[in-house]
């Protein structure tokens, strides 16, 4: 793919998901929570494009409504964990000393505790709800961002342009925002896109355990886990929410890749220059 479509294709896909989530009430063919045992476990057909589940609910409608929960929870968790992790990691890397050591030891501790143990603990204390799922995921996942922010900050701290800025009298905050953050951000974005997929899965897992979204509210995770027990007889139950999840995670990862490249002026420049001069060297142009 060339420079432009590398960004636009995943962007369009993610945009479609967002529209789908926003207008689910208008687009969904059926109410996602209407139980009709007479039409239970119907395979995909004209009236139910993705079939129906064990309670006769339309799977397409449930997947559409589920998109809202999944997108919202995953995006919020990535943003909250990302902002907190990047800020703490950068300060730890910049200040170093006891403060840096303290933050990074907390990171080690949080990362060493199994996810579900911590998640169950947090939800048990806070009580299960949509907001608390986000809080829980942020508490469990911020150390991922903190680690990359910390190491990138340490590397950048020793660079010549940071020393030059120090020598002109720039404050720590100035240097962190203008010199260190632009180095940290591309790495954090890539971590964030990888984490996004994981957050969708984690939300599903928590919902499966009854610690996340409460039934009958649909989320991809809850539809998937409902469908799990019928996987041999009703393939459509697990397939469609799984497919929705797969395509979204793939698109977000591609988006992160393209975004990272665009944040690097050296790479961005080669893309534009190639377009301007239309150099006839086909082997290079194709690469």
């Amino acid at each position: 793919m060339n420079g432009r479509s590398r960004l636009t294709v995943p962007l369009v896909i993610v945009g479609l998901y967002v529209l789908l989530a926003a207008f689910a009430p208008l687009l969904a063919p059926d109410d996602p929570n209407t139980v009709a045992l007479a039409r239970r476990l119907l395979p995909p057909q004209a009236h139910h494009l993705m079939g129906t589940d064990a309670l006769g609910r339309d799977v397409l409608s449930r997947v559409m409504y589920g998109t809202r929960v999944s997108l919202l929870v995953a995006a919020a968790a990535v943003v909250v964990a990302g902002v907190a992790g990047v800020a703490l990691g950068m300060v730890a890397g910049w200040r170093g000393g006891w403060l840096g050591a303290l933050v990074m030891r907390i990171v080690d501790v949080v990362l060493s505790v199994p996810f579900f143990l911590l998640a169950v603990l947090v939800v048990a204390v806070l009580g299960p709800s949509l907001v608390n799922v986000v809080v829980c995921l942020a508490i469990v996942r911020w150390p991922r961002y903190a680690r990359v922010a910390y190491s990138t900050t340490l590397q950048t701290r020793g660079r010549g342009f940071v020393r030059a800025a120090t020598a002109t009298g720039a404050s720590g905050g100035w240097i962190l925002v203008r010199h260190v953050l632009p180095e940290v951000l591309p790495v954090a974005i890539v971590v964030g896109t990888l984490e996004f997929g994981l957050m969708v899965v984690y939300e599903a897992s928590l919902s499966f355990l009854g610690l996340g979204v409460q039934p009958p509210t649909a989320s991809w995770g809850s539809i998937l886990s409902d469908g799990q027990q019928y996987i041999a007889t009703a393939w459509w139950l697990a397939t469609f929410p799984g497919l929705a999840l797969f395509v979204l995670v793939l698109a977000v990862n591609l988006l992160g890749d393209a975004a990272r490249d665009r944040l690097d002026p050296a790479k961005r420049a080669t893309v534009t220059r190639r377009r301007v001069f239309r150099r006839p060297r086909t082997a290079e142009a194709a690469a």
């Binding site: 010549g160 342009f161 010199h179």
Partner: protein
């Protein structure tokens, strides 16, 4: 009385080395730089010359000693006063790639000191003016560092350094990363800026040929200490410390005829700043070392009848060509 813009006294900087004690990068250095002149600091890599430069600019804290720039004691200043003083002292580093943020345009790079100090006025116009001063096309302002050559990048770094009209600039090997053809241009630029603006330089280098026609005074550094210091002409014509003589002999120079002397390598390795024993630190490599050199460390002392100082027991006697 001469006017010394920069005075360093008894500078010491030790770095802890895991499990092996401390490394004395700078071990009691005194320097004085007269206003509007260039002091060259020369020596092998690892002798502490870059650390000395960073100490002068308060980029690092010394373990002992003090630095006075324009009458202000640098390391005793509060945060606010130090920030203000930084306007008068600026660095130019060796690697112009690393010294420029690759994510910023030339315009933003050169404007940074102006913005940090809220210089106000028309910043873009000031940046174009600065680029013209360092003989760069002002149209380059919108470019990124990776689009420039090494020499252009170093000019951008110099433009940034002089943006606040500093009185003192520390040039840490400013041309050693550049092509030889470009080196002369950058050196001439530095000289022109000195003439036009009366900038005082500390010029850190290992290239003696360069130093020879740039500096008024030269300080030779060896293992964290100054071993010889004096006016450039005098020091090059008649080096008194055996280390200076070896450095001069080791410097590559064009050989026109076969009987011109070939460059000589300085024998042996530095004993390493980790293990400074008794006696002169240069004694293990010195062709003139005697028993006295191995037991008594010679202090840096003024040589009678000259403007020079040397740290050698035999600075007066061991004159010509013994090396």
């Amino acid at each position: 009385m001469t006017d010394h813009l920069v005075v360093a006294e008894g500078l010491v900087k030790h770095y802890p080395v895991r499990g092996r004690g401390t490394l004395a990068a700078v071990d009691g250095v005194d320097l004085r730089v007269e206003r509007g002149t260039t002091l060259a600091l020369v020596g092998e890599s690892g002798c502490g010359k870059s650390t000395t430069g960073r100490l002068l600019l308060a980029l690092e804290r010394p373990d002992a000693g003090r630095v006075t720039v324009a009458g202000q004691e640098v390391h005793a200043l509060g945060r606010r006063d130090l920030r203000a003083l930084r306007r008068t002292m600026q660095p130019v580093f060796q690697d112009p790639y690393d010294a420029l943020n690759a994510r910023m345009t030339v315009e933003r790079i050169v404007a940074e000191p102006l913005r940090v100090h809220h210089a106000g006025g028309d910043v873009p116009a000031r940046v174009r003016e600065l680029l013209a001063t360092v003989s760069l096309d002002p149209a380059l302002a919108s470019r990124y560092p990776h689009e420039l050559s090494g020499g252009q990048r170093q000019r951008v770094a110099i433009a940034r350094a002089i943006a606040l009209d500093p009185a003192f600039v520390v040039c840490d090997e400013p041309v050693s990363a550049l092509d030889v053809s470009v080196q002369a241009q950058v050196v001439n630029l530095l000289r022109r800026l000195q003439d036009e603006r009366g900038i005082t330089y500390l010029f850190i280098s290992h290239d003696l040929a360069l130093v020879r026609h740039l500096a008024q005074r030269v300080a030779v550094m060896y293992l964290g200490r100054i071993v010889e210091e004096g006016p450039a002409g005098e020091l090059f014509a008649d080096p008194r410390h055996p280390y200076t003589r070896l450095l001069l002999a080791a410097a590559p120079r064009p050989r026109v005829r076969d009987r011109d002397p070939a460059p000589v390598a300085v024998a042996g390795e530095t004993p390493g700043a980790l293990s400074r024993g008794r006696g002169c630190a240069f004694a293990p490599r010195c062709p003139l070392a005697t028993g006295l050199c191995r037991t008594d460390d010679p202090p840096l002392r003024a040589l009678p009848g000259t403007e020079r100082k040397a740290a050698c027991h035999y600075a007066e006697s061991s004159r010509a060509g013994a090396a």
